[in-house]
Structure formats: C-alpha cells, structure tokens
C-alpha cells in the first residue's frame, strides 16, 4: 500500500484543465471551475423542466415539487437569517444548493468542486462581501464604521481582524472537510475494496457534503443576522 503516493496523487495533482499560454498561466481554468459549469448547466436544465408549464389550479406533481423546493429552501435560510435579513434568503438558498451539488458530484466519480481552495475562497469572499454590504445597507456607512468599536473601543482590532478571519475560516472549513472526506474514502478503498467503501460513502459523500453546505450557509446567515442587528 503506497499511502504516500496516493496522497501525493490526490493533493498535488495538477488542477489545471484548460491552459492558456500567455501571462504565465494567469488565465488557466481549473477542473473544479469546469465541474461547477456542469453543475450549473444541469441545475438550469432541471429547473427549466421543473418550472415549465406551471398553473394556478390543478397543479401537477412536478409543480408541487417545485413549490416544495422553493418553500423548503426559503424556510431553511429564512429561519437562519431572521426577519431583518429575510431578503437575502434567496441568495443563501442558492449557495446551499451550489455547495451541496458541488459536494455531491463525488457520487458520479468526479472530484468535488469544493475540493479546490479557489472555489471555497470565492464562496467565502462572496459571503463576507454580502455580510458587510448587508451591514452597511441596514445601518448606513457611519454607523457601520462605528460598529467596529462596539461594545468597547478596545475590541476594535479584533472586529477588524474578523473581516479576514471569518471568510478564511469559512473557506478553510469547507475545503478541509471535503478534502478530508475524500482522502479517507480513498484510503478506505485502498484497504477494503468492496462493500465497506459503499457504506462509508453514504456518510462521507452524501451526509458530510450536505452538512458542510448547511454549515457554510448557517454561519454566513449568522454573520448577516449579526450585521443587521
């Protein structure tokens, strides 16, 4: 068993899929980005099919599912955001679906898109921008600036540091969990090739992937809720 080789292959593989020859590879596109394009395309086609031919009365099962999805997603994110920030629930629902779907592509033999640090970093940046924008929108710029010195001026450096810490922790948590799950699954497959990996895959590929999506959205919602208090 060549564990070192496996880890090298997993962690140090070349993530670039589409290579451009100019600017020293600045415009290279990673495999994970292409995977998320696929995710977006599949979701778009699914939604188009799901919401086509909708009626007010005598709804089909398909439309019922669409309405249940909307209600369910909004219920989850709206509950976490609270009344003040309820207008961000649609965005948070999309992030939930995006991360969940990106984690679940592991089931189809693809590398989860969230295993690429660039993807989780992009998500985390969007989250922190949204948190601060929500705060500025709700409080106004002056009050938002003052909120850094609350509850006391002494904690102002901590609050400013949080601007960087929060997205970093969001990004690293997601990335670490997904890569950890993938590594454990690969090791398991190496040790016991049959039956056991299938059972553990239910946890590591499905449950853990969805839990991480939920945690990411939950924390972002919590920050937004805090920002608009």
């Amino acid at each position: 068993m060549d564990i070192g080789g496996l880890l090298n292959e997993l962690l140090l593989e070349d993530k670039v899929l589409i290579h451009f020859d100019f600017m020293n590879g600045f415009f290279d596109i990673n495999k994970s980005i292409v995977v998320t394009w696929g995710v977006i395309a599949v979701l778009a086609v699914f939604l188009l099919w799901l919401t086509s031919n909708m009626k007010v009365h005598d709804i089909s099962n398909k439309q019922l599912v669409a309405e249940m999805i909307v209600d369910g997603l909004r219920g989850i994110t709206g509950g976490m955001l609270g009344e003040e920030a309820v207008r961000y629930r649609d965005y948070m629902a999309v992030v939930l679906v995006f991360i969940g779907a990106s984690n679940l592509v592991g089931l189809f033999g693809l590398t989860p898109a969230t295993m690429d640090l660039n993807v989780t970093l992009g998500l985390a940046l969007m989250s922190i921008v949204l948190v601060e924008v929500a705060g500025i929108k709700f409080k106004g710029f002056g009050k938002w600036m003052k909120s850094f010195a609350q509850p006391m001026w002494v904690v102002a450096p901590m609050n400013i540091l949080e601007l960087g810490i929060r997205p970093l922790s969001l990004c690293m948590r997601l990335f670490g969990n997904v890569i950890g799950a993938t590594v454990i699954m690969e090791l398991l497959k190496m040790a016991v090739p049959v039956i056991i990996p299938a059972a553990f895959s239910v946890y590591f590929d499905i449950f853990d992937g969805l839990i991480q999506a939920y945690v990411f959205v939950f924390l972002t919602s919590l920050y937004i809720k805090e920002a608009v208090e």
Binding site: W37, V56, V70, D90, V94, F98, M126
Partner: protein, 163 residues
C-alpha cells in the same frame, strides 16, 4: 495544493452569480408569480364572498321589514273584510225582515179579501135559496104539515150549505 489563482476565484464568483440568476429566473420568479396569482385569486374570492354576504344580510333585513309590514296589512285587510261582512249581513237581514213584513201584510190583506168574497158568495146563495124556498112555498098548497116539512128541509139545506 494550496496554490491560489485569482482568476479561478473570480470564475467561482461569476459562477455563483450565474447560478443565482438561473435560480432567480427559472425557479423563484416563476414560482413567486404563481403564488402571487393564487393569493390574488384568494383575496378576490374572499372579497367577493364578503360582498355577497353583506348583500344577503341587507336583503334579509329588507325582507324582514317587508314581512312585518305585510303582517300588519294583512290584519287590516281581515278587519276590513270582517266589517264589510257584518255590514252585508245586517243589510240582508234587514231586507229579509222588511220583505217578510210586507208578505205578511199582503197575506193578511188577501185573506180578508178572500173571506169577504166567500161571505158574499154565501150570502148570494142564501138569497137564492130563500128566493127558491119562497117560490116553492108560493106555488104549493099550504098546510101545517107541509110547511113544517118545508121549513125543516130549508134549515137542513142551509146547514148543509154552510158546512
């Protein structure tokens, strides 16, 4: 493994925004439109139902009022027709009484006339009888016995006639 490429971060952000637009256009907007339509319809139906209820209430009240009026009118009509009936009854009875009195008077009068006529007839017959008897007496021969017989006969005849 931890190399960060800014372009890929930007791509992720763009992807996320695209997915947001996809969800907004294809899921949230469409479902919201349906839900809004449904809510509008429910509101409309509710308003309609309330309006109808109010109308029914008004109608009920007006009918109740009319019904009360009708009861009073009915009583008036009954009273009026009773009064009319009594008046007619009185008139008929009075008429009948008057007619009866007249009939009685006429009957009395007729009876008197009849009695007078009978009396006259009787008297004339009696006169005839007397004349006849006188004739018989005059033509027959006179003796005591035949006179007696004649008187008796006359008296019997008279009695017979009168009966």
């Amino acid at each position: 493994m931890l190399n960060i490429s800014i372009m890929n971060v930007v791509w992720t952000v763009i992807n996320l925004l695209i997915l947001y637009i996809v969800f907004k256009l294809f899921l949230f907007k469409r479902v919201d439109a349906i839900l809004l339509k449904r809510r509008e319809e429910i509101e409309h139906t509710k308003a309609e139902a309330q309006r109808k209820e109010r109308e029914a209430e008004e109608l009920k009240e007006s009918y109740a009022k009319k019904l009360q009026g009708a009861g009073k009118e009915c009583e008036d009509l009954v009273a009026q027709s009773k009064k009319d009936g009594y008046d007619e009854y009185d008139r008929i009875i009075n008429d009948a009484k008057a007619k009866a009195e007249q009939i009685i008077i006429e009957a009395k009068h007729n009876a008197q006339i009849e009695a007078q006529r009978e009396k006259d007839a009787y008297v004339s017959e009696l006169t005839d009888l007397v004349v006849h008897a006188a004739n018989k007496i005059a033509v027959s021969k006179h003796d005591e016995e035949s006179d007696k017989e004649l008187y008796n006969k006359f008296i019997f005849e008279a009695i017979e006639k009168s009966e």
